[in-house]
Symmetry: C2
Subunit: 553 residues, 2 copies
């Protein structure tokens, strides 16, 4: 489904001296005939570091030992061990969204990549830049298809990757690594998968390659700005649907100015990769989850302006419900495609229509009150989170059924970033929080997680402990895949709760999240009432380091 870009030879110009990469001066010693050759693994690691890649989420095996050794010796690339490859790819997704540059994953052959695919699917849907380094059998070994670990690595990679390459030998390892980074950073973020045979790692003949300048975003043509301006001036209810950089403060501000002039509604998709929200920021509305609600959301929209977004489609189909969320009569206009500068386009459009300087609908700080000693619910957990949310927190949200309540409440909380599992694959947030916390030292990462999804990737807690990351995880412990109970009721099975061999409940036994967290080195506690949860949440915010709260709802 993903279009595979056939790669073009990257310009490996003989840059002398220094190279400026996003404001950071990189001292790169270009190849000199007298240079001592190094292994492919070492040249690859040095190339990644020179390209400003500084984190590696890894679950390596035998085929990656030379790369591991180079990472350890060369430094510059922080190695973060994950107990499962899905944790590594989820972390790379969270990192890429917050750092706005790729992390690398280091994965072991076909099965290692396979384990990471679901979160790479999320990353692909989010447009997150990620570089996968997949160790492979030596070229002379790979000719034996009966070797147990031999598998179709390219086949596994294809559905999630925009760029795939198997490097030929030690000489090509570094140039290919530079190209992988370049590709991953093309607007708007791609997954680049580089397969490195063992003999390309251990072989001699490598030389680091200087990084390519980061590809710029394309500027939106004035013609398109004029079209949008005219369409808005014709009147009729407009909705501006944004994604990517447009959902950061500056883009939202420009959109808010347009709203102030035209009354346009501002919207973002249900699983938007990243949005900056909270007090002092322009509010936007999230498209609802269920198809009929999404259709309702757009019922009166006559003009849909897309900024880095695609036309809204419901997450699942239901019989007789619309998959396509906008009315047939709605006019759709692409102001900026995802690879284009949507923020610049919004600002240009605001000017073109003569929008005021002040945006509409700036959120004001309004922390909710609490209901005291009553039984916890998804909503009361959300209120506590919104009340105590610290400035500049990163919310990594996979609360699924419990999360529906959260969005309206946190709109008036302190300013924060909000991330969601953009590909809808669960088992993401515990891992994505790792990447977000590493990308944003000094900010509190708050991971809000349904128990079903968290159970899928519970191993992530170990890496949170090992790296002593400042992550506060809240498990919404309803002991069910609750969203599926809702879906069954919607499908007309009103006996849902009476399934005699239930496949959607997580009791028998209940997971003890406090013990699970402690077993992996994370301090944890449980709450069943609002005041207890509020105390634990507020107290956890006063210290740093990993912490887990099981909210029994």
């Amino acid at each position: 489904m993903s279009a595979i870009t056939s790669e073009r030879p990257a310009a490996q110009s003989a840059v002398e001296g220094t190279l400026l990469s996003r404001g950071k001066e990189i001292r790169h010693e270009p190849f000199h005939p007298d240079d001592k050759p190094m292994t492919g693994a070492e040249s690859l690691v040095r190339t990644l570091v020179d390209a400003d890649v500084d984190v590696c989420f890894a679950n390596p095996g035998t085929s990656e030992i030379h790369i591991v050794e180079s990472i350890d010796r060369h430094r510059g690339l922080r190695p973060v061990l994950c107990l499962h490859e899905g944790v590594a790819t989820g972390a790379a997704d969270g990192y890429g969204r917050m750092a706005d540059k790729p992390a690398v994953t280091l994965l072991h052959l076909g099965p290692g990549l396979a384990n990471g695919l679901a979160n790479l699917h999320n990353a692909r849907r989010a447009g997150t830049p990620v570089v996968n380094i997949i160790g492979a059998h030596a070229t002379f070994h790979d000719r034996y298809p009966d070797s147990p670990l031999a598998a179709d690595i390219e086949g596994f990679a294809r559905p999630v990757s925009g760029w795939i390459r198997r490097t030929a030998n030690a000489v090509t390892a570094a140039p290919d690594a530079a190209r992988a980074v370049e590709f991953a950073q093309r607007p708007a973020g791609q997954i680049a998968t580089l397969i490195v045979p063992m003999d390309a790692s251990w072989g001699e003949g490598g030389h680091p390659v200087p990084p390519s300048p980061r590809p710029p975003m394309a500027t939106v043509s004035g013609v398109v700005i004029d079209q949008a301006s005219s369409a808005l001036k014709r009147g009729g209810a407009a909705t501006i649907l944004m994604r990517g950089a447009a959902l950061k403060e500056r883009g939202l501000r420009a959109a808010g100015r347009i709203a102030a002039k035209t009354g346009a509604r501002l919207a973002y998709d249900t699983l938007a990769p990243r949005i900056q929200r909270g007090a002092g920021r322009v509010r936007a509305e999230r498209i609802p989850y269920f198809p009929e609600d999404a259709a309702d959301f757009f019922r009166n929209t006559k003009l849909l302006i897309l900024v880095g977004a695609v036309p809204p489609v419901s997450i699942f189909a239901s019989p007789g419900k619309p998959s396509w969320s906008v009315p047939d009569s709605c006019h759709i206009l692409n102001l900026a495609h995802e690879h284009e500068d949507g923020v610049g386009a919004l600002e240009a459009l605001a000017e073109a229509i003569g929008a005021p300087t002040e945006p509409a609908d700036l959120a004001e700080l309004d922390p909710p009150s609490l209901s005291g000693g009553t039984k916890l619910s998804a909503e009361s957990v959300g209120r506590v989170v919104a009340r105590y949310l610290p400035d500049d927190a990163v919310i990594v949200d996979e609360a699924v059924s419990s999360g529906q309540h959260l969005q309206p409440i946190t709109a008036a909380a302190r300013p924060h970033d909000h991330l969601a599992a953009s590909g809808g694959a669960i088992g993401w947030a515990l891992s994505a929080a790792i990447g977000a916390a590493i990308a944003c030292p000094g900010r509190k990462t708050i991971c809000l997680h349904g128990d079903g999804g968290a159970a899928m990737a519970m191993q992530a807690l170990w890496t949170q402990a090992r790296e002593n990351l400042d992550i506060l995880t809240v498990i919404f412990s309803n002991r069910a895949y609750a969203i599926l109970g809702t879906e069954m009721a919607r499908a007309g099975f009103d006996s849902t709760a009476q399934l005699e061999q239930p496949l959607f409940d997580l009791t028998r036994p209940s997971l003890d999240w406090v013990k699970l967290a402690q077993a992996m080195g994370v301090e944890a506690s449980r709450a069943e009432r609002v005041d207890a949860f509020a105390d634990q949440f507020a107290s956890a915010l006063r210290s740093s380091g990993p912490r887990l709260l099981e909210a029994v709802i």
Copy 2:
């Protein structure tokens, strides 16, 4: 890499009345014009049950709710919920090896399948029959490639599947399910992946389809038996390398007779899917793990007879070490391919060469002695396991570095089945043990697991508790990916242990396996000395149900 068999229309003959499927009479009501139509989901479930499929390892989502409801209502298919799809596919692998028929997995769209791929890789290498049922978006929804969960399901399935089909609608769901089962059972076991769009599940018009007779194994031609007989009679050191049914008691007995006559050596591959071993059975030798040891093993072999096996190739390559394990001068003869009746061929060959009735090298019961109160080691754990191993246990072995010691010791233990991760993908045994235990009620399943691999799929413990399975798990807790330390030393990095940012150690923090197990409902204890471990192991064998022992080595 896997050859995709383009499927042929299965013979859906109008069988009346009853059909005999492997001795089990199935009452199947064939389609009658007056029959009330049912949903595709219901016809699919009934078809699976009629085809003698009786277990479903599942992690379903919204796209599978109609199938879940049919499973619950129709009965006959035991639903086993797994917290991660890798647990489901690993369980299906263990089940298929022991039950000699497929289980179905029920997985959620592309990401759900993706999570199950690594253990499907193991199952593919093992030749295990597995039927994957993958729910997909409704056909009218799937036209929108921007729907968050839309992914290339066929692309994910291709590297591991022998047969892939996306059913068209409610009418085709049942016939396609019958074909999937038929394909999975073709000798020697295949992975069949059936993709079921939601509207094929919820739509009306389904009718159950009678099962196809199980495809028989092909008989080996007398010409081949004569070739093997002549080759053996010419003399020269022969090795018979076996896999599949030939490694069960009857095949080993025939091979043992050939050995008694000719002095041929009997061997099985390092990660053989299943072998019957222990007292009263003919001994065979396991090919060593490292390439130079494997080459050494075959150094004197002049004739290699393959029975359901492929020529041995080392698991990894090393510089200057041979990938191909047999000498160039060795003559290789395929007595039976994997889809052929290797047991019959061995028996015919034994007759052809006039072998005696009694096989060579029958193992005698010789439980090892123990070393008392000393510190535990991988070897002493192995001795305890061998000493107390109950009759007819199923050993599911992913002990990796710790497992090297086990094989020689257990050869003289009570008779048992031994299973290994045939594709070399770790994170398999905790899950495979689930399937083995469900396939073999009344037998004790013993899961021997390195801590690194077990950490990858720790969620499997929850399903063991939920289903109250009779599995005793031993975690070899060396708090490292120890095999990788060995591989680094072999690669010449003698400073391995001094890596300053180690990617192979599992300390900081150490996983507390006792707490992890308890948090998921499994009774657990820890031992650091031989006598304590022996006591705990022996005591665990006296009761049934899931139990975990952390052996700190």
